[in-house]
Point group: C2
Chain length 416, copies 2
């Protein structure tokens, strides 16, 4: 079972909009044993769309198309589908009722002809009702191939994938079981890791696939397999993981769930232990807090954060002593530690993390080398800090600082 | 001049890693007048890579390939290139020296054979020296077609695109001038906008392209053209914009720079006026602060933020009166206003924005309807708040809240 994803829209090709739809669809298809053979992003151009359809039909069983279903003239996916299927567009009354209902509920203005026209669909299409928007999803079959057209608006597309597409695909195709296990490893570079596990890698049977995914401050090692016998797939992967484990024992920190992030992992641990966290951020500017709060349930363990972006606010809001700042400078281990201590006190939390540094591109008030970051971790017992040099660019400094802060916190929490 | 981007890596197809490289490359190519015809993401599979090369060669003049250049066994792009060009891999001494130097500087462990092997490149390739990593970029020519292979690590790839690829492409090809002007429009839905400007749209000459880009709480309308006569392209686009402007006068808020975000726009305005901002966040959890601080220069106007995620921290850290919370509940206009007032005071800023709400998926302490958000804006003169219902899912509530907060702030700042 292979799928191809075709995302349509000029904005993708000029880089104005990031294609996040494909990754979501890839994950959801994988869960039900459908491999994605290729992702193709193309312009709103009918002849190119038709060419992409015909190429995809050769390679894949299921073709999922997103985008180009809006009410405006640049949206031509529906016309291309009608032409490809040698079909005509007909008014679908259920879709029209959905559009009218949505309009009444959310827009409360006169319903326009262009919106009513969204109720036209190819006569051969089965409609996948989009309860969150006016562009209907469509399901078309050509022999044993299935074409699925979805709106490009991410939350509408995601809702249709989960509620309509996945259940229907599971009903139509017998799909294999796909398993990915991803090992999170800290403190080893890609090549050192590869060297260490080379003998193990060489003996892997061909149905076990291995991938190295380097990240900032960490490696992810993904072991995958698929097959129709679910238990055998699980056992095969587990056996290989058991074999590699002794080689990476010291650096292995855990498995990454389906897209699980380190902050979600930490959050679950904190919830389970009934412990809490607060954060003080300078150079990371709120991103560490955002990482935690983007997980639902964060209010159970995340007490809050102070982004003290100016020196003034480190003193007046966070309560760091001016003497410490004057003596050691605002980018220093002492200030990071004072920030963490003030935070654990103010928020009455069990842990506090603090960052201060210079993310660049230019030297700030403190005159610290661009890329320098101090991270402090406070517990009820005391406080520690570490100094890092993350170079440039700015974005990388912030991401590395967050990664290191999470690593320090995770190590501390795992002591429980 | 057409380009195709081929991104290689299983992690892209299973949705484990988001392809951000293509959007960056698309933007950079567009700036020098190269249109991206297609983006193709494929697995680390040699026969598929070869097929993608041959397809791309038919459609595009320039083929940019990222990924699959790592030191590990799953990285096979270089072998595929050698096979496609009927070539062999030879050791490149300059690359080897670069690897050794990087190793000495950053890794300080024994240099491994797998890393030394990264110095092997196809003999027909011109090396694009990657000063930030061990995988070299490569430039190969086949008749008038150019194949460029780059590492998949985003900051290495970006550095090579800017420093090597773009200058070399400008030297080799005579490229047209491409112009995109994007109009930011608030308060009009896609179809209402389309209806309003229909007559204008219908008269557009064929070399002017129009796109509607719907976003949360806003529309972007992109007008594009290209040609070898730069001044004519600029004049043509400007004339059409002048014609449409009277139709959208009330809702037009400004032009979007090359990827300019609303927070960058606000930041520039604040800097120019020498005014400052602080933020208090509950349901948006630090994301509003992160949006501002992700722009370099933010320290000039962004004083800081308090993420008061728990009710306790709204009282103890932010200093909102317990009486107000008890009387109106933590998700209320009164609490949002108190948060904003405390923030403007604590940070001594000119503006303060505060958010409180329930992002879901479940009801929180305050028992407010899931999706309810209150946003307050404080100035030196006073404070206002607005209530919103953003529905679900959680991520959408947060994004809509941020978008609305930025909109309120922008309106206020534009009064200056």
């Amino acid at each position: 079972m292979q799928a191809e994803i075709i995302t349509i829209g000029d904005e993708l090709l000029i880089g104005q909009v990031l294609d996040t739809n494909s990754a979501f669809i890839g994950r959801e298809l994988n869960k039900i044993g459908v491999s994605v053979y290729q992702i193709t992003s193309i312009q709103d151009d009918k002849s190119h769309i038709l060419k992409a359809f015909s190429e995809a039909e050769k390679n894949a069983d299921v073709i999922i198309i997103t985008g180009g279903l809006g009410p405006t003239k640049d949206d031509i996916t529906k016309k291309a589908i009608a032409e490809y299927f040698n079909d005509t567009l007909v008014r679908n009354l259920a879709v029209q009722e959905n559009i009218e209902a949505l309009w009444k509920l959310y827009v409360r203005q006169t319903l326009l002809q262009v919106n009513l026209d969204q109720a036209y669909v190819p006569s051969k299409a089965k409609v996948l009702m989009n309860t969150l928007g006016t562009a209907p999803g469509m399901w078309l079959e050509k022999g044993d191939k299935t074409f699925i057209s979805l709106p490009g608006v991410p939350f509408e597309m995601r809702n249709l994938i989960v509620k309509e597409v996945v259940p229907k695909l599971k009903g139509k195709y017998e799909t294999p079981f796909i398993l990915h296990k991803t090992l999170l490893i800290y403190g080893l570079g890609e090549s050192t890791l590869a060297n260490r596990i080379e003998a193990w890698e060489d003996q892997l049977p061909s149905h076990i696939k291995l991938a190295y995914l380097p990240g900032i401050g960490k490696m992810r090692l993904r072991v995958s397999s698929k097959g129709f016998d679910e238990q055998k797939v699980i056992d095969d992967v587990q056996r290989q993981i058991d074999n590699v484990m002794p080689l990476i024992e010291k650096e292995f920190v855990g498995f990454e769930d389906e897209g699980q992030t380190m902050e979600a992992f930490i959050g679950k641990k904190l919830s389970g232990l009934n412990l809490s966290l607060a954060v003080a951020e300078s150079c990371t500017g709120g991103k560490l807090a955002e990482r935690f709060t983007s997980n639902s349930g964060a209010s159970g363990y995340f007490k809050g954060c102070i982004v003290s972006y100016s020196t003034e606010s480190k003193i007046n809001v966070l309560g760091v002593s001016k003497d410490i700042i004057d003596k050691y400078s605002v980018v220093s281990g002492q200030v990071a530690e004072a920030m963490a201590m003030q935070t654990i006190k103010k928020f009455n939390s069990d842990y506090a993390i603090a960052t201060t540094g210079n993310a660049g591109p230019t030297k700030g008030e403190a005159n610290a080398e661009v890329g320098t970051v101090f991270i402090a971790l406070a517990t009820k017992q005391g406080v520690i800090s570490e100094e890092f040099m993350f170079g440039q660019p700015r974005e990388r400094v912030v991401n590395k600082a967050i990664s290191k802060a999470l690593e320090m916190l995770q190590k501390e929490i795992l002591k429980n």
